[in-house]
């Protein structure tokens, strides 16, 4: 129904290759997240799939059919834009009904589908309002409503939550995940926020400079990152990287230790350091420790670990959960 395959897809803007060459398989019903730092080509890749940009080379197959040359509307995809791109002069009802009107459905049919979509998204009371009279979260839902009325094979989300405040973002994240369960359609979601990627995805595609660094489920990426970039990108707070003598001790060029995989003690341990900053979040405490010769190490411990700025702590890495990387930055 909604499987997508990219074969050797590339995109150049003038001389500049934004995406050198990508192969990717997206299965029906999957929630796939493209994640990466800004400028890594993730939005461009989404726009290539949507048909808003033409590929420079390669093929895009949707449901096994070559869709490379098809116009966006004929690909059976729906997109939610970062700015929502609602039509400001139309009511919520007309906004959601617009794709159906363009498909020449009759009025009663459009009304029925719009009402259904509004019921799913809790927008029934706002149908006659204009977008400017809605809050950010409601606008977001209207944008999603406009996508779901067409019952597309696949949803494309282009950083849809980046204009919302933190609390609302968590809510919408849940709503989008629930919606995905409910509708079961394939979704491709672009974000630079690894938390969104980890919490929502069935499959994460980590991109850097137009190349795929690693593809896998959230926990696969967390447990076995393929290289330094993925290791540093996935997980929060960031993984600590140590190289030099301390790394050679473990037989690697660089070792990575996640903040949550160390044992902290005030009495004894492998490395000794001074607490620079301690951030108490209630459930957790993040300690930023300056260790001589190793540098700055972030650690995570339980909420009531009793240290303050300037105190001495001992850090012992969990040898089972230590990541080793070779000189090329690849996992060893």
């Amino acid at each position: 129904m909604g499987s997508i395959r990219l074969e050797n897809v590339s995109k150049h803007f003038g001389e500049h290759a934004v995406i050198p060459s990508i192969d990717l398989e997206i299965n029906d019903g999957e929630f796939v997240v493209f994640v990466g730092p800004s400028g890594c080509g993730k939005s461009t890749l989404l726009r290539l799939i949507a048909g808003l940009e033409d590929v420079t080379g390669g093929r895009i197959l949707i449901d096994g059919d070559d869709a490379t040359a098809k116009p966006p509307a004929k690909r059976g995809l729906a997109m939610v834009f970062q700015s929502y791109a609602l039509y400001p002069h139309m009511s919520v009802r007309s906004n959601i009904g617009f794709p159906l009107k363009m498909a020449n459905l009759d009025k009663a049919e459009i009304d029925r589908k719009v009402n259904d979509a509004a019921a799913i998204l809790n927008l029934t009371d706002y149908l006659e309002r204009k977008p400017r009279a809605l809050s950010g979260g409601q606008r977001q839902r209207v944008a999603i409503g406009r996508a779901i009325v067409r019952s597309p094979e696949c949803f494309l989300f282009d950083e849809p939550l980046s204009n919302l405040d933190a609390a609302l973002r968590v809510n919408m994240r849940l709503e989008i995940s629930e919606l995905h369960q409910q509708l079961g359609a394939t979704s491709i979601y672009v974000t630079h926020d690894q938390v969104e990627a980890m919490t929502m995805a069935d499959k994460i595609v980590v991109l850097r400079a137009g190349n795929i660094e690693q593809v896998g489920s959230p926990l696969e990426l967390y447990r076995s990152p393929a290289n330094l970039f993925v290791a540093g990108f996935i997980g929060s707070p960031k993984m600590n990287f140590i190289d030099g003598k301390a790394a050679e001790e473990f037989g690697a060029h660089t070792i990575g230790i996640r903040p949550e995989h160390v044992a902290l003690s005030t009495e004894s341990g492998k490395w000794m350091g001074k607490v620079a900053v301690s951030e108490h979040l209630g459930s957790d405490t993040f300690l930023h420790v300056d260790v001589p010769e190793l540098g700055h190490i972030t650690t995570r411990t339980d909420g009531e670990f009793p240290v303050r700025h300037g105190d001495t702590v001992f850090i012992s890495p969990d040898p089972e959960r230590l990541y080793r990387f070779n000189a090329d930055g690849l996992a060893a």
């Binding site: 949507a50 808003l52 116009p71 966006p72 509307a73 995809l77 729906a78 997109m79 834009f81 970062q82 700015s83 791109a85 039509y87 400001p88 002069h89 139309m90 617009f98 794709p99 363009m102 498909a103 400017r132 406009r146 067409r150």
Partner: protein, 290 residues
């Protein structure tokens, strides 16, 4: 306390400009009103006397008056239609990426810098002249009888000239409006299955509604008082076929030397302009809100 202080200080500061503006408007207006009640003919100086509403009666019963009103409205309406429709089309064209975009845009705007008398004379002598004009040669080349534009279709010809002058203005305003349309909206509409025509009707035109309103309002103000183009091309003729209100007032004052009658005509023109303005604001002014 502080706020009342600031308020009165602010009023005091604004007073000079407000008073100046008021005088600037009130003095000529009240003089015109005053003259319109006088029997005042430049050929008989020193014999001014109070005339009551005589000037208004003469002006309003002049058969040329109704034709002038009709001509004024046709001129305004015709030019508005041509410039808005043409302006939208040109703006859409100029918004496409193309080679030499900057130069083309400047060229399109150029007619606005040509003064009305000059452009009217160029049109009269070089384009519309039935013997030497470009249109006449074109007609002969195609085997048609050349049209004497300014005597057979004088009002249409003047509308054409004025429309040519105002097209750049409309294009410029509409182009800037078009450029402010977010690309994502266009793309969203494209994904929603809207073809180019539907995007124009449902997305682009509603987005430009406000700019179109501005163009209509501003142009109406200026087009109600078109004068130079008529003076240098048809002199209001043949007969009064291309006389608008402004030109009628001019004829009254400076061809018949009747200052009283002309003033009455001026006041009537002001009233009519206000009526048009009220209708316009009622009809399309709501686009400017919010």
């Amino acid at each position: 306390m502080a706020t009342t202080h600031t308020h009165s200080a602010a009023r005091l500061m604004m007073a000079p400009s407000v008073i100046l503006l008021l005088l600037w408007m009130i003095v000529p207006l009240s003089m015109t009103v005053y003259f319109s009640f006088l029997r005042y003919n430049l050929l008989m100086p020193g014999t001014e006397s109070f005339a009551g509403f005589m000037n208004y009666r003469f002006f309003l019963t002049d058969p040329a008056f109704f034709q002038a009103i009709g001509n004024t409205l046709i001129l305004v309406g015709g030019v508005l239609f041509a410039t808005v429709a043409g302006g939208i089309a040109l703006a859409l064209l100029l918004n496409q990426p193309m080679f030499g975009q900057g130069i083309v845009r400047i060229l399109v705007i150029a007619p606005f810098f040509v003064m009305p008398t000059v452009s009217a004379l160029v049109w009269k002598n070089m384009l519309m002249n039935p013997v030497n004009g470009l249109f006449a040669s074109l007609a002969r080349f195609l085997g048609f009888q050349p049209i004497d534009f300014l005597s057979s279709i004088p009002l249409t010809s003047i509308s054409l000239i004025v429309a040519w002058q105002w097209l750049p203005f409309a294009t410029l305003i509409l182009l800037t409006a078009l450029q402010s349309l977010s690309e994502e909206q266009n793309e969203a509409a494209e994904m929603d299955g809207a073809n180019a025509w539907n995007r124009l009707i449902y997305i682009i035109l509603p987005h430009m509604a406000r700019a179109i309103t501005v163009v209509v309002l501003i142009e109406t103000i200026f087009l109600l008082s078109v004068f130079a183009e008529i003076l240098v091309t048809t002199n209001g003729g043949p007969g009064t076929e291309s006389t608008n209100l402004t030109y009628l007032v001019y004829m009254q004052a400076l061809l018949q030397f009747d200052v009283g009658g002309a003033s009455a005509g001026g006041i009537i023109a002001v009233i009519l302009a206000n009526i048009v303005a009220i209708f316009l604001v009622r009809m399309i002014g709501k686009n400017l809100e919010d």
